[in-house]
């Protein structure tokens, strides 16, 4: 066994050397959704560790690290009290940068917990950023509905489904809903105000118990959109007769009377 240096390359070399000697073995295992490789102490390695490393530590009552190079390289000094110690399995942990970062953590549960914590933290940051971005879109309420863009209508739709089902708004706004809405707007010649009226009709007609999926809801809205256009447009029209209408009515009456 050679004299080890400090550094990643040296550590890898040392581990390789230990593997070749049969003191440790590399095993592949699945943790959560990822596959990792870990080095485990073999029986032979355990015996050697006990004999060479742990026993002298006890004898010397030392607080030094069990992985200190100076101790590993010490010559064999077996004593009679070797049998008094039980063999323990020490996990050397995975390779790569994690090896250095988590060298002190040898418990799988702790690794998983730490990983989960990091993931949760990242998710919370992501959702916070999305919510902040979503709040910016609330400025649409300061503009009259007929000037709303498809994005504004999309955000209104998302807000409404959030109010009913607590579905995260960006699960709609980040989907293909807004491009689909733009296409419908072009085809049916609608504007924000008409689409808002369609939203009212849509949410007034669906069974809230039946649906709870964002994608299902926006696709249903897109499917039903054409059937609501007529009703929505007519609901926005004033029935007051303008001067022009009165003129046209007189013209129609003149035609009836044969005065044209």
């Amino acid at each position: 066994m050679g004299h080890w240096q400090i550094g990643r390359h040296s550590a890898l070399k040392a581990l390789k050397e230990l593997r070749e000697l049969g003191y440790i073995e590399l095993k592949t295992q699945k943790i959560g959704a990822s596959i990792v490789k870990k080095n485990y102490l073999t029986v032979l390695g355990s015996d050697r560790l006990t004999a060479e490393l742990l026993l002298p530590l006890v004898v010397q009552n030392s607080n030094n690290s069990v992985f200190a190079n100076s101790l590993i390289s010490k010559p064999d000094t077996p004593t009679e009290s070797v049998e008094e110690f039980q063999t323990i399995n020490i996990e050397v942990d995975s390779m790569g940068y994690e090896f250095f970062e988590k060298q002190s953590s040898i418990d799988d549960d702790e690794v998983l917990k730490a990983r989960q914590k990091t993931q949760d933290s990242k998710k919370a940051e992501y959702e916070e950023a999305k919510a902040k971005n979503h709040k910016k879109r609330l400025s649409r309420h300061s503009v009259s509905a007929d000037k709303w863009t498809c994005t504004d209508v999309g955000y209104e739709f998302a807000d409404r489904i959030y109010r009913v089902w607590s579905i995260k708004p960006w699960s709609v706004t980040n989907s293909r809903f807004i491009p689909a809405l733009a296409s419908l707007r072009k085809k049916h010649d609608t504007n924000g105000a008409v689409e808002l009226a369609i939203l009212d009709l849509f949410f007034g007609s669906i069974d809230f118990e039946k649906y709870d999926d964002a994608e299902h809801l926006w696709k249903l809205f897109v499917t039903r959109f054409p059937s609501y256009v007529l009703q929505a447009k007519s609901s926005m029209i004033s029935t007051e007769e303008s001067d022009e209408e009165l003129r046209l009515k007189e013209k129609a009456l003149a035609r009836l009377r044969g005065n044209v």
């Binding site: 447009k233 007519s234 029209i237 029935t239």
Partner: protein, 229 residues
């Protein structure tokens, strides 16, 4: 109100076959109390013109085939007025006012149906239609070979309440029915919640333009508001 059962047999059968809802059978203009009188006057003028023979199949007349369009918000009496007009025509008009062919007996001079029902009827014709359905639809268009079946005055109720598909088939059907009847010199009464000036946006500019020629528009607005409430 008048009693339908007291009418002469032929006129009684016309009322029965016109599909007039039971709850409005026997209604007259004087029963329409919630409607502005000036609107009723225009309607009566139109009825008089039809009675005088200047509308139904009147060759060369500007009023030939000209119908009525009653539009406004729900509950302001559009459908009721349309049904009153039909019954007034069926009850009072001299037989000659319907411009029948010589020695022909009219089967169905007037008829009432909703636009949705008309679309359903047209849909039924595409599958396995009965003779009755075929005869009725030909009569609605005014294209029945036997003129006795051509409907002289047709009411199409609730235009604008139909289901609108993405293909726009309903719009095409509306234009087709109204145009065909107009060309055949047969007036139509349309009730709608869509004002005539908005027909361009909903049914297309061509349909609006045609409707300007084919109808006398009347915006019904009851001073009492929604008469159903």
């Amino acid at each position: 109100m008048f009693n339908v059962d007291e009418l002469k047999l032929r006129r009684r059968s016309w009322v029965k076959i016109a599909a007039i809802p039971y709850n409005r059978q026997g209604w007259e203009f004087k029963d329409c109390t919630g409607v502005i009188s000036s609107d009723v006057e225009i309607i009566k003028e139109w009825v008089s013109t039809v009675e005088s023979g200047k509308v139904i199949k009147s060759k060369g007349q500007t009023s030939c085939g000209q119908g009525l369009m009653l539009y406004g918000e729900p509950g302001h009496g559009k459908t009721t007025l349309a049904l009153v007009i039909l019954q007034d025509i069926l009850r009072r008009f001299p037989y000659e006012a319907f411009s029948p062919e010589a020695n022909k007996t009219l089967v169905r001079p007037c008829y009432f149906l909703t636009f949705s029902a008309l679309l359903d009827l047209r849909g039924a014709l595409m599958e396995d239609p009965t003779d009755e359905e075929q005869s009725l639809f030909a009569g609605i268009l005014g294209e029945s070979v036997d003129d006795a079946y051509n409907i002289r005055v047709l009411v199409i109720d609730d235009v604008g309440k139909e289901h609108m598909s993405g293909s726009g088939w309903q719009k095409t059907m509306l234009h087709h029915v109204l145009r065909t009847r107009f060309n055949n010199g047969l007036p139509t009464i349309v009730t709608s919640n869509i004002p005539l000036e908005a027909w361009g946006a909903v049914y297309g500019p061509a349909t609006e333009s045609f409707a300007r020629e084919a109808f006398v528009p009347i915006a019904l607005k009851s001073p009492k508001g929604d008469l159903r409430k």
